[in-house]
Symmetry: C2
Subunit: 118 residues, 2 copies
Amino acid sequence: MTSDPRLSLRLHFDSGLTFGRGKADLLQGIEEEGSISAAGRRMGMSYRRAWSLVEEMNAHFTSPLVDSSRGGARGGGAQLTDLGRQVLADYRALETLLREQGAKHLARLRAGQRYVST
Amino acid sequence: MTSDPRLSLRLHFDSGLTFGRGKADLLQGIEEEGSISAAGRRMGMSYRRAWSLVEEMNAHFTSPLVDSSRGGARGGGAQLTDLGRQVLADYRALETLLREQGAKHLARLRAGQRYVST
DNA sequence: TCTGGTTATGTCCAATCAGACATAACGAAT
DNA sequence: ATTCGTTATGTCTGATTGGACATAACCAGA
């Protein structure tokens, strides 16, 4: 994946939408796999959950991020809409911004941390 | 508060610590009020919860972020340690970085969102 | 017409989390 | 000794969340 596994950025919008690594990776998986279920499998996520997240994202925008169709030879599939690609790109850009420009602060934040048993 | 109420940044560290606006505001409240309970009250948070968050933060660092004492004329109190102040400052810096440098991306992300009934 | 992989949904249970309450310990000042 | 505001914990319950299953609908192609 493109982002630092040691850090995860989650954005809470006042629309009620929470958008973090999980949804971003899911969108990216859909884009690359062409299907919600394949993207879910790749992430070790049940189809039920993947679909729920897609539904949630679609519901929070005035137009869907994911465009899906069912039936047909290959069962159906899903693709990102232009908006979906833009949302993904913007999130990735923020991730990169944080990781690169915020490196010093992140390093300091991590410096004194330890793994906790409980 | 210093940060955009419309956006909240939450960091997931692989230490297991999750650090977002809530804990940052709590630390800031403790610094300004000199007490965990006063900080909690100010945020409309029960003392139980505020104390739990402090305990969690302290446990995730090799040295505490909050230094507390009990008893005495004023009942006791709490202050941030140097590490506590540094953690708060670093988080605020990341917030600012995100808000300022990421303004364009954030604006785009918000642009198409709508409030959702359920 | 049958198949197969996918989308689309419902339901249920366990686990985790948040809030409410309750209580004890503490110690400087009076 | 009593008081008072705070720190420090325990417990309980309701709400939210996540995971596991189960099932129906869909439709190009064989």
